[in-house]
Symmetry: C2
């Protein structure tokens, strides 16, 4: 038995096209390419191919939704939330977007050596508060620690299980010409709040993340019999990217009116200074609902009864043409096509 060390010849440097870049995690076109090229072909199955925020399947007669997200937001604490509230609300919301009642979450922590216990405690307390507010239980978990400099304070993964208590299918494939497109509130706050916090920017008023659980308003619509065709929470890539995804998946057109999109004055101001487009900024407590035209007004009334959706608005309509495209009628009355990757996506926003 002998032991020796060996060395490996240094390979030629790789070209940018051969390596993963930050934008591959930004929620835009490059991330979609990565998923379509590497993940989808390898794991292909019916549940995955729906390309939804979560998977839906039956187990022993129960119709379940299952979703996961890892959270790598920097900094881990920011106005209006932290990595813990994101991790709970984010997965709760992904389940809600499947039309499911969220029930159980897992919580897995990757912690950088040297993290103060005080930070861990704050994050866990925040997760507890959010889990209670959303009515879910954190039932299983995992803890890993990596060496200093091999992680950034902490990363959190949550996966969640929800039960689907109705027979609707909620997916981009279900939307129909004429459907009303509802937006649950103002957009852009989460993105600006995290970026301002990260870069040490101070505005006249502190902009707080919109991070909130969305299951209650969604279930209220379903319970009231609103014909909900498709739901999508507006995380990485923001409102614009989500709508483009749905237009492309459904093959139908989406027409929205810029004036109807609520944006806080402070967010609009910050975006002007920073050169950002609020339609592409991440939100963590906002969603779009595609509902049958005749249910649009009733759905808005139901949504507005919930604090997180008090500013809900109808922002547009599903159209036959232009196929697979999103048309925005601007404040000036002109029309432009929205694409996924306009504006560099902000990295590590969730």
């Amino acid at each position: 038995m002998s032991v020796k060390t060996f060395s490996i010849a240094c390979p030629a440097p790789l070209k940018p096209v051969d390596i993963v870049q930050m934008a591959h995690g930004g929620g835009g076109r490059l991330m979609h390419q990565l998923i379509e090229q590497y993940v989808m072909p390898a794991f292909q199955n019916d549940a995955l191919s729906v390309r939804h925020d979560g998977a839906v399947f039956e187990v022993a007669q129960a119709r379940l939704a299952f979703s996961t997200d890892s959270y790598v937001v920097s900094p881990i604490f920011f106005p209006g939330g932290d990595i813990g509230s994101l991790a709970v609300n984010g997965t709760v919301n992904d389940l809600a977007m499947c039309g499911a009642r969220p029930l159980y979450l897992s919580a897995a922590f990757i912690i950088e050596e040297g993290l103060p216990f005080e930070s861990l405690e704050r994050v866990i307390a925040s997760m507890r508060t959010c889990a209670e507010a959303a009515g879910v239980k954190i039932v299983t978990g995992d803890t890993k620690v990596v060496d200093r400099g091999k992680c950034d304070k902490m990363f959190v993964n949550t996966a969640g299980i929800g039960v689907i208590e109705h027979s609707w299918v909620i997916a981009p494939s279900q939307i129909q010409v004429g459907d009303a497109i509802l937006l649950s509130g103002d957009v852009g706050r989460h993105g600006v709040a995290v970026m301002a916090s990260r870069e040490g920017l101070e505005f006249e008023t502190t902009i707080e993340s919109d991070c909130a659980p969305l299951a209650a308003p969604v279930l209220a619509m379903l319970d009231a019999g609103v014909q909900v065709r498709c739901l999508r929470d507006l995380t990485r890539g923001g409102l614009a990217t989500s709508l483009v995804e749905i237009a492309e998946s459904s093959g139908l057109g989406i027409q929205i009116v810029e004036l109807e999109i609520p944006i806080e004055e402070s967010v609009r101001g910050a975006c002007e200074i920073l050169g950002l487009d609020p339609l592409y900024l991440a939100n963590e407590g906002r969603f779009v609902a595609f509902v049958a035209e005749q249910d649009g007004e009733r759905a808005l009334e139901i949504l507005r009864r919930h604090e997180a959706c008090a500013q809900a608005q109808r922002i547009g309509t599903v159209t036959e043409k232009p196929q697979s495209l999103v048309l925005l009628e601007s404040v000036l009355g002109t029309q432009r096509v929205l694409d996924m990757e306009r504006g560099e996506p902000l990295p590590r926003i969730c």
Copy 2:
């Protein structure tokens, strides 16, 4: 609207006792303290308090198991496996240890900017192969990218759902005096394989990880009506730590015989050179089964029909005393008490 930067006064340095250390992720006593002190009190609920590898609960009459693990192994490729095979088999095995048939997995990737796509592709291909071998589908997922130096190549989280198709309760609380303790194969290979690969050590023969899915042998025992009381896969902390956990949870004694524990000659040699104890090394395809005394022989026969359990052995018996302790009868005939943290646990082994 104005924008300015601000700085924060540097706080006093924190003491080691106030920060997370590598050993908090090692699977030993410190990790248990972290979980008991911070996680359990915050998230308390029935499913979590079982302290099992996964949670068990009912949803609409279906009895389900749910588990998660994040994988941070370094290096991501090693003899006998990679971070992808670990991530699939690890969660499949946690579900199997709940006595569940694994059905669905999620896969969440945190990727360091600059990772070659070739590496991502290899990991995903390996996950696909392992998922097919274990009969599970990867149905939902997530991809995040973090800046260079904020992660180490890639971390993978998997969560899994399994269905429990029998009425047994499988948990440390179920073990009884006289139960036979079965070990599914030789121990220590995964730990030595990863460490040798990380440190560039070469032995006469390449030691390969034992990474393998364990659901088939477990379900075969259950299908044959073997009274399975408790199951535990031997990951971080190895055989010794798993047995100590079960002794402490159950309040009963565990007596095992060193001579009955299979250890490969090459692993034994490597451990002697490196000063490691194979009973504390991580495995990724090994488990212990506590079964009713009268079913011991039959269970061994069933296990040995599966390739991953060909070397299964009975290694001991549950005793009334000494309460909550594990006694090892050594090769020399002496007895010693095993504790969780003998030997520094190897970091980032899974």
